[in-house]
């Protein structure tokens, strides 16, 4: 564990990607093979199954630290991370340990069938033989949520430096459904069999937000414009008479969308389609809210299947007849995709995402403005001559999102931020008018400058009405413009609505309190866009 903790510190101590890559590459060269494999797994979001609940961890940590549970809970939001909070409050270790990362993981996994006393003794024993950084790492193994400032891309680059294998090749090898139990360093990294894992997806190509006038992109005829659909990006793989559906986050979602299974009978083996999973009925997409109940569950009850039927809105063709299509230009891939879909019976849950016709950029600007009316988030612009790249790359793909919805709201509650922002009030609750009452309807955390957060923090302290634990109610006075991407009905909220991605965009110091928006305004937005 010491070797891994050293790596963790080295990564933590620098902002420079070059230094991080070098530290990781050195680790991949000299750490034990099992540890390397687990490190790759951890950095790509795979963690050992949780064998201890965080409730227990908190209780045991407080007990070991000799502090009451409330004090532990008071520390947590200041640190902003449970694993770190525990590492910090514990008394210094009295012993040392030579166990490696994978050996400690084995210790944790063995707790699966253990009784509570054994679990407690094991965890307390571990804490007593690990240094502060090792403890943090150990706790992270239990709680998950690794953020080591290492992207998958950076890790792949380091792995490439250490092994001499090309980055793109490694990216592909690391995708898919492996775990450190099913794979070894040799099978995963060194001697992979390209046919071994039929389910393995291609890395998704991700677009940047358009940050310039579209005229700068050149001729509109060099581009394909499509709707940016508000569903779940997915990659459908049909190989070996099976089908697999991957999310962008490398989640295998196959069983959640059984409708798509029938496609195996209609499309040739060796077909891979990039598209958007949408709830869809009566020839039009349903709102994201309708799709949501289907995301959380592994299997789908019949009723839900009927209420929110899904389709795959196809964007791109990555493999056809077992051939990797990605190096070919989009125009060619798209033509092949259109032909393939045109030949299918019309009631199959697969559609071609229609091209938005345009003879000039102004046509597209107008089409973009209508996005919300047809349930889209904006437009996607893709260069017709471009290959399908891996990851987020600038130049050939752009998302041109519609402007967010906005509403002017009154600040009524404030709460201090976590960790780095523990000394500032950064978490706010906002309300709209309902007659003479203010009805809370959303929280927002981001969008102000540090100077503005400082200003509002000073104001909150002077204008607190009441304290409820960490939350303060404040004199209604300040109006903020809140931007959000969508609105949906929510019986759990007093206001009856829930917003998607709310954030503060402007502190409306110019706006008097009574000119903030009303609950009726919100309801009207819900009727229009919900």
């Amino acid at each position: 564990m010491k070797r891994f903790a050293t790596l963790f510190s080295a990564l933590d101590q620098t902002m420079r990607t070059g230094v991080k890559t070098a530290a990781l590459a050195a680790y991949f060269n000299d750490a034990p093979e099992d540890d390397r494999l687990w490190t790759i797994a951890l950095l790509s979001g795979r963690r050992p199954r949780r064998t201890v609940t965080t409730t227990r961890l908190r209780a045991w940590a407080a007990e070991a630290a000799g502090i009451p549970p409330w004090l532990f809970e008071a520390c947590y939001p200041v640190v902003g991370d449970l694993a770190e909070t525990i590492a910090l409050v514990l008394p210094p270790a009295t012993r040392e340990s030579d166990r490696t990362l994978s050996q400690w993981i084995a210790v944790l996994r063995a707790l699966d069938k253990a009784d509570d006393d054994t679990r407690k003794a094991t965890i307390l024993g571990a804490w007593d033989q690990l240094g502060t950084v090792e403890r943090l790492v150990f706790n992270k193994l239990i709680t998950g949520g690794w953020r080591m400032g290492v992207s998958q891309k950076l890790m792949t680059r380091a792995l490439s430096t250490a092994t001499g294998i090309a980055e793109a090749d490694l990216t592909h090898r690391l995708m898919g459904d492996w775990t450190p139990d099913t794979a070894s360093w040799a099978t995963l990294i060194e001697a992979p069999d390209p046919t071994a894992d039929l389910s393995r997806p291609y890395p998704f190509y991700l677009a940047y937000q358009l940050d310039q006038d579209p005229h700068a992109l050149g001729h509109v005829t060099d581009w394909l414009a499509e709707r940016k659909w508000d569903g779940i990006r997915g990659q459908l793989i049909l190989r070996g008479a099976n089908h697999y559906l991957w999310s962008r986050g490398e989640d295998l979602m196959t069983d959640r969308f059984p409708e798509l299974a029938q496609l195996v009978d209609f499309l040739p083996d060796g077909t891979v389609i990039d598209g958007e999973v949408l709830a869809f009925a009566d020839d039009r997409p349903l709102s994201f809210a309708r799709l949501q109940p289907r995301i959380g569950r592994k299997t789908v009850p019949r009723k839900l299947l009927a209420e929110a039927p899904v389709i795959l809105m196809a964007y791109d063709l990555l493999e056809w007849g077992g051939q990797d299509m990605r190096p070919r230009p989009l125009s060619e891939r798209r033509a092949q995709l259109a032909d393939a879909i045109a030949a299918l019976p019309p009631d199959l849950p697969l559609r071609l995402s229609p091209a938005v016709p345009a003879s000039g950029w102004s046509d597209l600007a107008a089409a973009r403005d209508q996005s919300r009316d047809i349930g889209a988030e904006g437009l996607m612009l893709k260069r017709l001559g471009a290959p399908y790249l891996a990851g987020r790359k600038k130049g050939d793909w752009w998302k041109w999102k519609v402007d967010p919805l906005t509403i002017d709201a009154v600040l009524i509650y404030a709460q201090a931020g976590a960790g780095r922002r523990a000394t500032l009030y950064t978490d706010f609750t906002f309300a709209v008018w309902n007659g003479d009452d203010l009805v809370p309807f959303t929280k927002a955390y981001s969008g102000l400058t540090d100077a503005e957060f400082g200003q509002i923090t000073a104001w909150v302290r002077k204008n607190t009405l009441e304290r409820f634990g960490p939350v303060r109610s404040v004199t209604p006075h300040h109006v903020f413009e809140i931007a959000f991407e969508g609105i949906q009905p929510s019986p759990r909220h007093k206001s009856g609505v829930a917003l998607r991605f709310p954030r503060m965009v402007r502190w409306r110091k110019d706006k008097p309190l009574h000119e903030a928006n009303t609950l009726d305004d919100l309801k009207q937005m819900l009727a229009q866009y919900g």
């Binding site: 620098t14 420079r16 780095r420 400082g454």
Partner: protein, 335 residues
């Protein structure tokens, strides 16, 4: 009440004076020279002789009387004395006794001997007003020797890379404490103007510090390879830094104990070194006073006072609407 909490600060009715007032008053007793404790505009000041030079340097021509550590002085019906707080050179806790009832206002303090400040000395009292800048059990300072070797190892590695090490430290106290921890065999030490000015004041009162080279406009950093630069945290990331070429940056503060803050500050390294007491320090200091009543100010007031209440103290919060909730200037790295 021997001391009262008023909008102008801590007030003693029996002696008609204030301790570290926030607004200008007739008579101010000052615990130490940090900006959030020694403010301009008071008609008369009282502080220790070793705190006085910095106060004069910062506040100019003020009516300042000094009182030695342990010396007692009668002010009205109050008996006053100053006792070492171990925070920075000259920093004091102020003891006020009226008719046999004793209160102590801690100011800022730390219980670890930094080798520079007069070491903290507990003072028995009935009521103790304690700071709580780091009043949560997540703050436990590492051993100072280990810390010195961390800083020196970073400096040496940075120098070996052909880079300049720039360490952000508060000008009064932290800078001089760090200076004494540095291994001058590694290379020369350069100082930002704000830090050199304070160094000069402290050298003037007899403190010995290693040799430093002030960074002036005509100084060529290239003629001082392997250097470590001490600068106020606010100078990091400004154009002032350009002259040093490739740098590795560090910050020295108690807040560096938290990974989130370390990362947010975007310095390459964070060193956990504070001039305030950590969790254990605060608890041992409170216990050593023998006080039954404790008022908590300056930091995690709610949590620390609740904790003390559960430990059997009659603990309260110094209401913070007057500005006491602000972080200390010397530790305010989170801005």
């Amino acid at each position: 009440m021997v001391l009262r909490f008023t909008p102008s600060g801590i007030y003693c009715p029996a002696g008609d004076f204030y301790i570290d007032p926030w607004r200008p008053v007739d008579r101010a007793l000052i615990t130490h020279g940090h900006a959030d404790h020694a403010r301009p505009g008071n008609a008369a000041y009282l502080a220790t002789p070793s705190a006085a030079p910095v106060m004069r340097h910062r506040l100019g021509d003020i009516a300042l009387e000094t009182i030695s550590f342990g010396e007692t002085r009668q002010i009205g019906d109050a008996t006053v004395s100053f006792h070492p707080a171990g925070h920075v050179p000259g920093s004091a806790q102020i003891r006020v006794a009226v008719k046999g009832e004793v209160w102590v206002a801690s100011g800022d303090y730390k219980t670890v001997d930094d080798g520079l400040s007069e070491p903290f000395a507990p003072v028995r009292c009935h009521t103790f007003i304690t700071e709580s800048t780091f009043g949560l059990p997540i703050y436990n300072w590492p051993d100072q020797t280990a810390l010195a070797s961390q800083i020196n190892a970073w400096w040496a590695a940075t120098a070996a890379n052909g880079q300049t090490a720039v360490l952000g430290v508060y000008a009064l106290g932290k800078a001089q404490r760090v200076l004494r921890l540095l291994d001058t065999a590694i290379g020369p030490i350069l100082t930002h103007g704000a830090i050199e000015a304070t160094n000069a004041v402290l050298r003037g009162q007899g403190l010995s510090l290693p040799a430093t080279i002030p960074v002036t406009p005509d100084l060529d950093p290239k003629s001082h390879p392997r250097a470590l630069v001490l600068a106020p945290p606010s100078a990091l990331g400004t154009p002032w830094m350009r002259r040093f070429g490739p740098v590795s940056t560090g910050l020295a503060s108690g807040w560096m104990a938290l990974r989130g803050i370390r990362r947010r500050r975007a310095a390459d390294r964070g060193f956990i070194i504070s001039d305030h007491a950590d969790w254990a320090g605060l608890n041992s200091a409170v216990a050593a006073t023998g006080a039954e009543r404790v008022f908590v100010t300056h930091g995690y007031t709610n949590h620390f006072s609740r904790w003390l209440t559960e430990q059997g103290y009659d603990a309260g919060i110094v209401e913070t609407a007057f500005g006491g909730e602000r972080l200390d200037a010397d530790e305010d790295m989170t801005k």
